[in-house]
């Protein structure tokens, strides 16, 4: 079970200090000016970064000439339709599904898990893989943990799989692996991205050195940054400095949590349980090595091998035509912003999302809807 410790006020202030934020924002403006062209475009690949930028209102103090693009950093949003369908079919067959709260409203081909729940299926919201396993211990029912998330949460799932879970517990993995999708974005024709802000929490597992090969191959700088307002502003200053100096390298701006080699134990557990396979990321592309699936040794814990899942049964009516208008893919690829989508805030709102970006609190559209993509307040 997760534990919460009350933070000490002073510690919290260190990374949320308005005066320091103002100074960093001014420094960022200077460095962007020194690049000498407009706009300078960088991308973050983490929903938590966007969440923080939005929550603290940072877009209001970013320089006008800096374009901070939101990349495919929301694991819930890139969960593909067939993966949702698998969970929905299992739920309809009477299997109890345990999953993270924001997976409930992700649209499948015809319905979401929340729809299935309203119609009588058993769906439990859990906070962790461990809690899902606990749920299985308390019952004889089949429990399937519908697991989403990048390497950070995949490690937690791996730990549960390795800790001898109860026999009625299995995992439907929709886990994704972030490094391959950065390659896709970097190689995308017409990409404007000049630097990447990498996710601090994922890097605590993988280590910052994992980005060295990427930088070498694409000559694009990568800065690992944390999630407090000053972490993000400091990370952006460093990233734009590297762009200005034409000096592509990896910088770790989150050294209080991230090391070059990362958490070796966690990596060992991750790769003991999972292997990478290619797969579709919703709205993005087929991402080689982008999906994490359970290895053969863990077939007994793999919901896909434990249950017969036939998603074709679901297709009793054709999917909404609105989904064809949705531009989630372009938004997640950083090519378009939510304001350019004709559905945004009209047909597509958090209560009745059309695209997955409007579902998760890590999704770009949801965040823009939630906090307002308005820098001029």
């Amino acid at each position: 079970m997760p534990e919460v410790l009350a933070p000490e006020g002073a510690k919290e202030l260190r990374f949320r200090d308005p005066a320091q934020a103002k100074a960093l924002s001014a420094a960022l403006g200077r460095v962007v000016g020194e690049v000498g062209r407009s706009p300078v475009s960088v991308m973050h690949v983490c929903g938590s970064h966007e969440q923080s930028i939005a929550k603290f209102g940072l877009r209001a103090i970013l320089p006008r000439d800096l374009n901070v693009i939101m990349g495919p950093g929301c694991p819930v949003c890139v969960t593909d339709v067939p993966e949702v369908d698998e969970a929905v079919v299992l739920a309809q067959d009477g299997v109890r599904i345990a999953t993270y709260g924001d997976m409930l409203r992700v649209p499948g081909s015809v319905k979401s898990l929340a729809d299935a729940q309203t119609e009588g299926a058993k769906v439990d919201v859990v906070y962790s893989a461990a809690q899902a396993a606990d749920l299985a211990r308390d019952t004889t029912e089949e429990i399937v943990f519908f697991a989403s998330g990048f390497e950070t949460t995949a490690v937690a799932t791996a730990a549960v799989v390795l800790a001898d879970p109860p026999p009625n517990f299995s995992v439907l993995s929709a886990h994704k692996y972030i490094p391959p999708v950065m390659e896709i974005v970097a190689e995308m024709p017409g990409t404007k991205v000049e630097g990447f802000l990498a996710a601090g929490h994922a890097a605590t597992i993988t280590g910052s050195a994992i980005f060295e090969r990427f930088v070498e191959r694409h000559r694009i700088p990568v800065v690992v940054a944390g999630f407090e307002p000053l972490d993000i502003l400091g990370g952006l200053v460093k990233l734009v400095e590297l762009v200005r100096d034409r000096s592509p390298r990896v910088e770790n701006m989150y050294p209080r949590c991230v090391t070059a080699e990362g958490n070796r134990n966690a990596q060992a557990q991750l790769w003991q349980v999972f292997r990478t396979v290619g797969g579709q990321w919703r709205g993005i592309a087929h991402v080689p090595n982008g999906n994490l699936r359970l290895r053969d040794e863990f077939a007994h814990v793999d919901a896909r091998r434990r249950h017969r899942i036939d998603v074709r049964r679901l297709w009793t009516r054709s999917p909404s035509t609105l989904t064809q208008v949705c531009i989630c893919g372009n938004i997640m690829a950083g090519i378009a912003s939510p304001a350019e989508c004709p559905l945004f805030g009209k047909e597509c709102v958090p209560e009745t999302p059309v695209g997955a970006c409007m579902v998760s609190s890590e999704g770009t559209c949801k965040i823009w809807h939630q906090y307002g993509g308005h820098p001029d307040l």
Partner: protein, 347 residues
């Protein structure tokens, strides 16, 4: 397939319809309230969608409000369903400006198999809360339903009170200051932590309490200075402020650093990916106050035991009508309402 599963989900009531946000207001407008909205009422009727109704009786107002209480678990840190049922209705009356309730009615529906000792514990709690609020229960009704036909216990209370002056939730004017009577998020977070079995080291307690005494002190401080009131229950401060801003035709600027959130609530909310502004409170109020009287009203509220942590947290503006702008101290953003029950996010 049963009859239920063959129904398309859009045709069914979902939990978000009960979460206190836009979906709920829309459902009520389209179904339950339809047909009464046009009825002329001498006072405040259903069309105002306020905390309660007000009818003119001579030169005074009779304020009536009703609320059904369901809560899981029935006993939670800081309170229980009995305390909630009394405080909730007393506070709804107070939010209309009626701080001296004449009495409450109480209807209880109990599930077969409910423990008698639990019922007695709830009854004692209701009695204690009534004493705190200076109110009594005048009449009631009791039903028992079969096992599985409802979850434990449901309590409905209706309250009525007389007042000389109604304070609506739509009375904000540009320039008014916003007063918040204390810390936010305590009730909802205490329940969520208990409901989902999260291990939290520090204590999280609901703030559920009758605050009619506190409101009376605020109203008496400078007569006529309080322009609007609302208690930020379901949907939290975000929903309450939106409703006030929309109905009043003003914009609101809220200063986040002045809003009190206990360190434990803040930590738990960050861990679960929840926004304290969207979490329910059961012993707090938001007051619109004329700018020249703000300090005097604040002093009166702070002098009351339930208002020690009160603060002026924002002001009303003439533009951005219906919007709530949050000044985070670092930058600015829009505050928006929760859609449906707050769901914990993944990472």
């Amino acid at each position: 397939m049963t009859a239920t599963t063959s129904l398309r989900s859009e045709a069914l009531i979902t939990l978000r319809h009960g979460a206190g946000g836009r979906a709920m207001r829309q459902l009520i407008g389209e179904t339950l309230a339809a047909g009464y909205l046009e009825t002329k009422v001498d006072g405040i009727g259903l069309a105002a969608m306020d905390d309660g109704a007000a009818l003119r009786i001579g030169d005074r107002w009779l304020v009536v409000t009703t609320d059904s209480h369901v809560v899981h678990p029935v006993f939670f840190p800081g309170g229980d369903i009995g305390r909630l049922a009394v405080a909730g209705t007393v506070n709804d009356l107070a939010m209309m400006g009626a701080t001296a309730p004449l009495g409450l009615t109480c209807a209880v529906i109990i599930e077969e198999g409910f423990r008698r000792s639990d019922l007695e514990r709830i009854q004692r709690s209701m009695q204690e809360t009534c004493r705190e609020a200076g109110v009594t229960i005048l009449t009631g009704d009791t039903k028992v339903m079969g096992r599985g036909e409802l979850d434990g216990i449901v309590i409905n209370t209706t309250g009525f009170a007389l007042t000389d002056r109604i304070v609506p939730d739509a009375g904000l004017r540009a320039g008014d200051r916003l007063l918040l009577t204390g810390s936010i998020g305590d009730h909802g977070m205490a329940l969520m932590v208990k409901r989902h079995g999260l291990a939290i080291e520090a204590e999280l307690r609901s703030d559920v309490a009758p605050i009619n005494g506190l409101i009376q002190a605020a109203l008496a401080a400078v007569p006529g200075a309080v322009t609007a009131m609302k208690d930020p229950t379901r949907g939290g401060v975000a929903s309450a402020l939106h409703e006030m801003a929309e109905k009043s035709g003003v914009g609101i600027v809220l200063h986040e650093p002045r809003v009190s959130v206990s360190p434990v609530v803040r930590a738990a909310a960050e861990m679960l990916g929840l926004d304290p502004f969207q979490i329910a409170n059961e012993g707090k109020a938001l007051l619109g106050v004329r700018p020249d009287a703000a300090d005097a009203v604040l002093a009166a509220v702070r002098a009351h035991p339930h208002g020690a942590a009160a603060e002026i947290v924002g002001e009303c503006i003439a533009d951005h009508v219906g919007r709530v702008i949050l000044d985070t101290g670092l930058g600015r953003r829009l505050l928006v309402e929760a859609e449906g029950e707050p769901l914990p996010r993944i990472c």
